[in-house]
Amino acid sequence: MAERPEDLNLPNAVITRIIKEALPDGVNISKEARSAISRAASVFVLYATSCANNFAMKGKRKTLNATDVLSAMEEMEFQRFVGPLKESLEAYRRDQKGKKGAVELKKKDKDKKEDSEDTDKNREDENEDEDERMEEEEQNDEEEVDN
């Protein structure tokens, strides 16, 4: 992939929001500080990737996986991230499973509807909720690719 240099930047608006949420209310973040943190974040991604890749290579694996990233965090002296990361990963995996589950449920529900229309009204409501959530997520996925 031939990427342009700006493709290696992270979206400034998102970075700024993360900084603002981390600092006390009303703290002014200079423009220079914002772009410096943004650059630092890109370098962090590369550093972490390279570290994690070393662990994958040591394990004679071609694909970089979650364990490699967690090991990299320890090596980089960001042990404090490991706990929160594990929690997020669990939530992420549940989420991914949920997506698949929702699609399957929907199919089942469709078949069932043809047999008995008015049973499982609650179940249907649940599915509707899930559909909405999925739509939201699809939108978000689109947002992920920007300039």
Binding site: E3, D7, L8, L10, P11, N12, V14, I18, I19, A22, L23, P24, V27, I29, S30, E32, A36, I37, R39, A40, A41, V43, F44, V45, L46, Y47, A48, T49, S50, A52, N53, M57, K62, T63, L64, N65, A66, D68, V69, M73, M76, E77, F78, R80, F81, P84, L85, S88, L89, A91, Y92, D95, R133, N140, E142, E143, E144, V145, D146, N147
Partner: protein, 131 residues
């Protein structure tokens, strides 16, 4: 592909606010990386968020701008200089010095090395070395 929506990206319920696709591009720009598990991309994105928070709070806490309720560049470069964990940032967050100070430093160096040489002469000799 969608573009320009990054600002509003993501509601509260999202697990990660940095765009995974962009994280993936950055990871892939590393030549030795062949393939990456989606879990790993997610984790790197999340870790980067934690890193941004940590870098910002750490720099603010130990910084000079605290009295004015401000986070400045020098707070960040100081973190890169002083904290071992953030040492890897030292190259991209260099300490800023005034141009006048820098010129003085150069002059002092010059005086130490070869006092009688003219400024232009030294510059041209440096160019020769570089080429």
């Amino acid at each position: 592909m969608a573009s320009g929506l990054s600002g509003s990206g993501g509601g509260e319920n999202r697990l990660v606010s940095l765009p995974l696709s962009r994280i993936r591009v950055i990871m892939k720009s590393s030549p030795e990386v062949s393939s990456i598990n989606p879990d790993a991309i997610f984790l790197i994105a999340k870790a980067t968020e934690l890193f941004v928070q940590y870098l910002a709070t750490h720099s603010y806490k130990h910084g000079q701008g605290k009295e004015n309720k401000a986070l400045t560049y020098s707070d960040l470069s100081r973190t890169a200089e002083k904290s071992e964990t953030f040492q890897f940032l030292a190259d991209i967050l260099p300490k800023k010095i005034l141009a006048s100070k820098y010129l003085k430093m150069l002059e002092r160096e010059k005086e130490g090395e070869q006092e009688e040489e003219e400024e232009e002469e030294e510059e041209s000799s440096e160019n020769e070395e570089a080429s």
